[in-house]
């Protein structure tokens, strides 16, 4: 089990391991978005709320880009999941 730490799940929603994220960084990813498009980490139900910090740390450690220059990921709505029907009802308020 010497490679056990490589198999630690970083993105729990999409079940993306540390090994997969390091592979994305080796493939040229220098941003959180770069890791996301290569691995799908951060594309799941929580939209990167859990894995974002861990991936930022791994990117900074890789030396691809100084931590201070890491672009924050694009913030997009919604903050919490909501049903399609709720968006439509909003109009009648």
């Amino acid at each position: 089990m010497e490679n056990a730490d490589q198999e630690i799940i970083i993105c729990r929603c999409e079940e993306i391991s540390r090994r997969q994220i390091l592979a994305a960084i080796a493939d040229g990813a220098t941003t959180i978005k770069g890791v996301k498009i290569r691995t799908e980490a951060g594309m799941g139900l929580c939209q990167g709320r859990t894995c974002r910090r861990l991936i930022t740390q791994m990117l900074a450690q890789s030396g691809a880009r100084p931590a201070a220059e890491l672009y924050p990921p694009t913030s997009r709505p919604p903050v919490r999941t909501a049903q399609v029907g709720e968006y439509i009802r909003e109009e009648d308020d």
């Binding site: 999941t81 049903q83 399609v84």
Partner: protein
């Protein structure tokens, strides 16, 4: 640090990556330069469709058919799973006006060779649950499909690299290299690239790059907002558009006096489900410069429209909303070819909402033209010189 290439490609979206792959495959030394990262622009914020039915009967549909044929074998060719599936597609028809437009549209598409027909609401309901009761019917084509735009682009890029191409990310173009009145390469944030030909494939951002050599491209950014639901079991079968979209695209005069906010935002249904299970619900078509943020109004109008056509969507949970700048052109066709008066530059941009669908064939056409000077079909309607590119 300087590099030398046969061809420099500007733009790491699906079009640039496809071109880089085909050129590398044809034996050219290629360097692709991308300002941010692969798929950073419209490619990474689009609706995944390879839908043929939305294409105008003519060169547009012919190229889309040829592109779709290439997609069928592309996962194997690239040795990368691009997730291309042909689950068919439908266009919803709500009223007699739309039925008239679609009847004519379908008849002309059949002549080009698309397998498409108009089916009753009852038959449509056998393919897709959750459809609205008021629909008059739908068009249906089994040749429609969808593909994962991220995997498609990464697949092209990986295969290009394996063939010797170099992909530079964080490599914004800062200027062109000119020599004796000819463009001989580009200057980028990652160093100079000397090249015999420079291909500009920067989508909606192409006009900003072309302006550096005095060209005025008729491409304008047009925002599309798209809503993503949480992954769920299979629900949306294939791709679903609304005839509103076709009417708005090809008969804009019918909407000129429209009072509905949704119509003014260019809202038309574009619905599909990814391999993972997320449902993509689109989209707006808005001229708001390079703004890609989301608006409450845009989100509400998209969802109102979608739920009107498919009430079954109301229970779905939204997890993310995105927006991208599509490269609009005045005649709806891309600019592919050499612009007059700027020797050494080649344009391949302006696919608007068809970039994913036309990516495969665009790569082939550009590689053909740059290696053999000709391609398999008449593409004169795509000639960039149909527009005045140099201000007089």
């Amino acid at each position: 640090m300087g590099r030398t290439a046969d061809v420099a490609v500007i733009g790491g979206g699906v079009i640039g990556a496809s071109i880089a792959y085909r050129l590398a495959k044809a034996g050219k030394k290629v360097v692709l330069c991308e300002r941010y990262d692969l798929t950073a622009g419209a490619t990474g914020a689009c609706d995944q469709m390879v839908i043929l039915q939305s294409k105008n009967p003519g060169i547009h549909l012919r190229l889309a058919l040829d592109s779709a044929a290439m997609f069928q074998d592309l996962s194997r060719e690239l040795d990368y799973p691009i997730e291309y599936f042909r689950h068919g597609g439908m266009i919803t028809i709500e009223n007699e006006m739309e039925m008239g437009v679609m009847t004519d549209f379908v008849a002309r598409q059949k002549k080009i060779g698309l397998e498409v027909e108009i089916i009753s609401r009852a038959d449509a309901a056998k393919r897709q649950r959750g459809l609205a009761d008021h629909l008059l019917g739908c068009t249906f084509s089994r040749q429609d499909g969808h593909v994962n735009p991220f995997k498609l682009t990464l697949g092209f890029a990986k295969a290009a690299k394996a063939l010797g191409a170099e992909i530079l990310i964080d490599a914004e173009v800062t200027g062109f290299k000119e020599e004796g009145g000819k463009i001989k390469g580009i200057k980028t944030a990652k160093g100079d690239v000397d090249a015999e030909v420079t291909v500009l494939a920067a989508g909606a951002w192409s006009p900003l790059v072309a302006a550096q050599v005095g060209l005025t491209l008729p491409i304008k950014p047009r925002r599309g907002q798209i809503i993503i639901t949480e992954p769920g079991p299979p629900y949306v079968v294939g791709g679903i558009l609304s005839a509103q979209y076709i009417v708005a695209k090809y008969h804009p005069e019918t909407l000129r006096d429209a009072k509905s906010r949704g119509v003014q935002l260019g809202v038309g249904l574009a619905l599909s489900q990814t391999a993972k299970g997320d449902i993509l619900i689109g989209a707006t078509r808005e001229f708001v410069d390079y703004e890609v943020s989301n608006t409450r109004e845009g989100i509400r109008e998209i969802l109102k429209n979608a739920a009107r056509l498919m009430p079954g969507l109301k229970k779905m949970n939204v997890i993310r909303i995105m927006g991208g700048s599509r490269p609009y052109t005045p005649d709806g066709l891309p600019l592919i070819g050499f612009p007059k008066g700027r020797e050494g530059l080649f344009l391949a941009a302006g696919h608007e909402g068809d970039g994913i669908a036309l990516s495969a064939i665009t790569g082939r056409i550009v590689a053909d033209l740059l290696t053999e000077g000709k391609t398999y079909t008449d593409i004169s309607p795509l000639d960039p010189n149909r527009f005045p590119l140099i201000a007089s």
